[in-house]
């Protein structure tokens, strides 16, 4: 095992560009972090979850899927190099694992896998979160994990590809198992409040303990910007449209949003989810209750993006917190205010 500086890592990523289409966290013009190429801006490994949908690298906002000319249909040419994506958090790796399953269960989404197959995933964790926050160590779900000890990044490998790649990295200092164990202990000791919160909210929603007027109240705050869907790594819905110019037709797909009326509207104009609050409820119900039945677990992995992008502060964590506060079981120590003598 070895630990590399950000500069050494930069050189390493540069050295593998001949074999991989490398995407990593960079700083854009105004400092916003995003997945980009090395030449697009300064490397910004530290800082935690990137603001954009991390799975968007395989499932972009807008993507050409077919081209028809003179009766011939062509799919876009395959990429000449596989992707190597740096900057996933542990939660992002969980999301990716789910999206891989989603896009390969019952049907296989070739467009998605045309980018995903052969891709190498590099997680970033440890002492490099926003405001000094410690980022949970993934320990799986990626090929390489760069765990920051505050000075350098320790390169842990979880696949043969990852191992072979890290061996190509120049420089670095050796790291003992004890140092890694200490970081793992710190990771294991991170509080699980958010996870407990989501589970508690999931149960309450599943048990139908959240009344309609709560969802109406949340729906009243929603301005239907759709950002919760657009930022969510596990939102996979898309719409398809054609662009015709002369004798050429291009078929594209574009991220869709279940917060829009048009998402579930029938051709007649009728919409079983015709009210805003019902769509807000559905979105949370889907991830926290329906998916438990479908997949055996909630499909929010607590990446926190919807809470950050929501203009009205009704991201999934905020709403779950409110659900648990309002409808959750009271702690045993708290007296029940039901006329009992003071």
């Amino acid at each position: 095992m070895k630990a590399l500086t950000e500069r050494e890592l930069r050189e390493f990523f540069k050295s593998i560009e001949a074999d991989y289409d490398v995407r990593l966290p960079i700083g854009l013009h105004d400092g916003t972090r995003a997945l980009g190429k090395l030449g697009d801006g300064p490397l910004r490994l530290a800082g935690g979850a990137l603001p954009g949908k991390p799975t968007g690298v395989f499932f972009p906002q807008m993507q050409r899927i077919l081209v028809e000319t003179e009766g011939q249909i062509r799919e876009p040419a395959p990429a000449d190099k596989p992707l190597l994506v740096v900057g996933y958090t542990a939660a992002d790796a969980d999301c990716l694992e789910f999206v891989d399953r989603f896009f390969s269960t019952n049907y296989r989404d070739d467009v998605y896998f045309s980018r995903r197959d052969g891709a190498v995933i590099v997680c970033v964790s440890g002492q490099c979160g926003p405001d000094g926050e410690f980022l949970r160590i993934a320990g799986k779900g990626c090929d390489i994990e760069l765990v920051s000890d505050g000075q350098r990044y320790i390169a842990l490998t979880y696949s043969e590809v990852g191992k072979a790649l890290v061996e190509r990295a120049k420089g670095g200092v050796p790291v003992s198992e004890a140092e890694v164990s200490a970081l793992r202990d710190e990771s294991d000791g991170l509080n699980t409040d958010d996870s407990d919160l989501i589970c508690a909210a999931s149960e309450l929603i599943g048990q139908e303990k959240v009344p309609e007027d709560f969802w109406q109240m949340v729906g009243d705050r929603c301005i239907a910007c759709t950002a919760c869907n657009l930022a969510c790594p596990t939102c996979t819905c898309f719409d398809v449209f054609d662009r015709k110019a002369g004798d050429r037709t291009e078929r594209w797909r574009i991220w869709d949003s279940c917060q829009l009326d048009g998402f579930m509207r029938e051709a007649s104009g009728h919409n079983p989810m015709g009210q805003e609050w019902s769509r807000t409820r559905r979105r949370l119900h889907h991830k926290l209750a329906a998916d438990v039945t479908r997949w055996g677990h909630v499909t929010c992995f607590l990446c926190g993006r919807c809470d950050k992008v929501c203009p009205s502060n009704i991201g999934i964590k905020s709403v779950c917190r409110e659900i648990v506060e309002r409808y959750g079981a009271r702690p045993a120590a708290e007296p029940i205010a039901s006329g009992a003598p003071a």
């Binding site: 854009l28 013009h29 105004d30 400092g31 916003t32 972090r33 995003a34 980009g36 190429k37 697009d40 603001p51 954009g52 972009p60 906002q61 807008m62 993507q63 009243d220 705050r221 301005i223 239907a224 910007c225 759709t226 950002a227 657009l230 719409d239 449209f241 662009r243 015709k244 110019a245 574009i254 869709d256 949003s257 829009l260 009326d261 048009g262 104009g269 950050k308 992008v309 929501c310 203009p311 009205s312 502060n313």
Partner: protein
């Protein structure tokens, strides 16, 4: 793939975001900027979809000229020679003022500056205006008269600092969503009081402390009623009134006639509502007024604006964070287009054309002589002049009066009567159908420049992709026109050079340069290179010195319901579309969301008329009939219909009344008499 930081082309909030460009020069997405002072990593639905229309196959990609009645492709040389030749010929025969220029709130500051320079310096006419005439001309005049500056007094961040917010005539969460969401957060998280004074039950009304559903058009009576109560109960800010204002006695005299009982009767509400609102607003430490088209688009629009200003001054709510009179500008650059002087009576920075000193200054700066000295035609009066045969030629950049102006049949007749019409745009529009020359323009994503947001923040627009087809940036086209007309003073290597010229002749933009706004925009006034910009206007002193109370008496709207036309028809925008729909109706998800022209009607009215939801109805006014889909909803009050004006196939503006405010010449889009029946 690359990402380019630019400013949203929709409303005036001024969110910046990154356009995502693929390797084929196509836009494939939008990413939010986490660092931008307004957006803060968030966007509205239009912002998230702002890339979509740019590569639409309908884009105009080559110049077109009319030959034997048919529009045919032409070279840029042929098209521009024809434009200049015809405009000169018409001016030679009918005088300089026989041609007019419509500038555009969708284009950059630099382009608006050049359009007004082209009209004034090259074609020697003040017939230059743009669609601010149709939205906030009453604000510009009303606030200039009371405060000395016709712009939003405060900053968007102030929305989260106010203790009480009066939102009137603004559907903020739909039309300025990232401002609306700040109001939502302030109310629900900080406990700020929210008063919504609006006939429609807008989203903000759901969380308001008080929702006053007054009769449309009774704004002055309502505001005077509030001031009557405030004075009667001694809730005015005596020190502010004494030290910062003038003409208070006149205000007292006028509002004395609006006791709550009388005001309530005019407004169709209860006297208690007026008293309650007056107390809530006046007792707040920091109270702000937020308004938009519901205040301005009336034949008494200027009076409405002045009354808002009066209320703010009476309660001492000007010049501090969290207060102020905050007109929300509806277009990405409508503030900038006004600032640049794309108005009939002013040069950039609101320097008046009737002022000989200003004229001399611009004559010197532009190396020309004899700049015209009388205000020219406005967007609205130019159409009237064309219909009367007095205006012979019109050059329209990025506007679509066939859908945006009142009384479409009147506009059609006017355009048909013109000898020569030039339309410069990114998509074909109902207006371009009447053009003799169509010039294909580059979209916001294909050029550099600046937009000025509603909070007076000058921000970058950056080129993300090359212009589509043979389209060109508006500023390049305008420079080419000027050169062909024999004027040597409009040659620039970049948009940045144009802004440098703007800064040199425009005191409020004196310190603005592309370099200074690279990371964060500057809020004008920004008078020199060291000036940090001005987040809050009128601190310590009004722009005009003392704030002038300008009381107004209530005047009824021009066309009120009667037996034949029993409904009030009000018009505006919906959340998912923008203005005449040229961009949003070519954006997949936005178009899918609202596909048809519709009219909102109250459930009780619908029941009485046997009108059902999602069924087609005819809406008729004295100007004509439009087919629209009924939307039965309690958002509409009884007796009131609401129609958005985005739809070519159901144009609300075929129905509206071309009655104008006597001062601002703004049309009364918010009120006309109508009837409705099932198809």
């Amino acid at each position: 793939m690359k990402r380019v930081l630019t400013t949203c082309p929709y409303c005036g909030t001024g969110c910046m975001f990154y356009l995502v460009v693929d390797d084929d020069n196509k836009l494939i997405g939008v990413e939010a900027s986490t660092e931008h002072v307004v957006a803060q990593g968030k966007l509205c639905v239009k912002g998230w979809n702002a890339h979509h229309f740019v590569n639409h196959p309908d884009r105009l990609t080559q110049p077109m000229v009319r030959r034997n009645g048919k529009m045919e492709p032409a070279s840029w040389d042929e098209a521009l020679d024809l434009v200049v030749g015809k405009l000169k010929e018409i001016q030679a025969e009918h005088g300089n003022d026989s041609v007019a220029f419509f500038s555009s709130a969708k284009t950059t500051n630099e382009e608006n500056y050049l359009m007004m320079k082209l009209a004034r310096a090259v074609f020697k006419t003040n017939n230059v205006d743009h669609c601010a005439r149709l939205c906030h001309s009453s604000t510009v005049l009303g606030l200039a008269a009371t405060f000395g500056s016709g712009a939003m007094t405060n900053s968007i961040s102030c929305m989260e600092q106010a203790d009480c917010i009066l939102v009137t005539g603004s559907n903020t969460t739909e039309q300025h969503p990232l401002i609306g969401s700040r109001i939502v957060r302030n109310v629900l998280e900080n406990g700020a009081k929210l008063i919504v004074a609006d006939n429609r039950k807008i989203r903000l009304a759901r969380i308001a402390d008080i929702h006053v559903r007054w009769k449309n058009g009774t704004d002055v009576a309502f505001l005077n009623g509030l001031m009557n109560v405030i004075i009667a109960e001694g809730l005015e800010d005596k020190e502010f009134v004494a030290s910062r204002t003038e003409n208070y006695e006149e205000l007292k005299k006028v509002v004395a006639d609006y006791r709550p009982e009388r005001a309530a009767e005019i407004c169709g509400i209860t006297p208690e509502e007026i008293v309650q609102v007056a107390r809530m607003f006046a007792r707040a430490k920091r109270a702000m007024i937020v308004y938009s088209m519901g205040i301005t688009q009336h034949t008494h629009g200027v009076d409405n604006v002045k009354s808002c200003a009066n209320l703010a001054m009476l309660t001492g709510n000007v010049g501090r964070p969290g207060t102020g009179v905050n007109p929300l500008r509806g277009q990405n650059n409508v503030q900038g287009a006004c600032d640049m002087g794309a108005l009939n009576g002013v040069y950039s920075g609101y320097q008046k054309v009737i002022d000989p000193v200003a004229r001399e200054k611009f004559e010197k700066a532009w190396s020309v002589e004899n700049l015209p000295d009388k205000p020219g035609l406005t967007v609205t009066t130019a159409i009237d002049a064309a219909a009367d045969g007095k205006l012979k030629a019109l050059y329209i950049m990025g506007e679509n009066p066939m859908l945006s102006d009142p009384d479409q049949n009147h506009v059609r007749k006017a355009l048909e009567k013109l000898d020569f019409l030039v339309v410069q745009d990114i998509f074909p529009t109902p207006t371009s159908e009447y053009a003799d020359v169509i010039l294909p323009a580059a979209s916001y994503a294909e050029k550099n420049g600046t937009f000025t947001s509603t909070e007076r923040r000058v921000q970058h627009v950056r080129k993300a992709i090359e212009p589509i087809g043979r389209s060109r940036a508006d500023w390049e086209i305008l420079c080419d026109v000027a050169a062909r007309a024999g004027y040597a003073g409009m040659k620039y290597n970049s948009a940045s050079e144009i802004m440098d010229e703007v800064a040199s002749v425009t005191p409020i933009y004196g310190g603005v340069s592309f370099e200074r706004i690279d990371q964060v925009g500057l809020q004008w006034p920004c008078t020199d290179k060291e000036h940090p910009g001005t987040p809050v206007l009128h601190s310590g002193k009004f722009a005009r010195g003392l704030g002038a109370f300008s009381p107004a008496a209530y005047r009824p709207s021009a066309e009120l319901p009667d037996e034949e036309y029993p409904f009030v028809l009000s018009t505006g925008r919906c959340y998912f579309h923008f203005h005449t729909g040229t961009m949003t109706r070519r954006s997949q998800l936005l178009h899918r969301e609202e596909r048809f022209p519709y009219v909102e009607i109250n459930p009780k009215d619908a029941r009485e008329l046997e009108i059902h939801d999602r069924r087609w109805v005819h809406v008729t006014t004295r100007r004509g009939t439009v087919r629209a889909m009924a939307r039965v909803t309690d958002v509409a009050d009884r007796g009131v219909l609401f129609m958005p004006f985005h739809f070519e196939e159901g144009p609300a503006n075929l129905l509206t009344n071309n009655a104008l405010d006597p001062v601002a010449k703004i049309p009364e889009y918010k009120i006309c008499a109508a009837r409705v029946r099932s198809c």
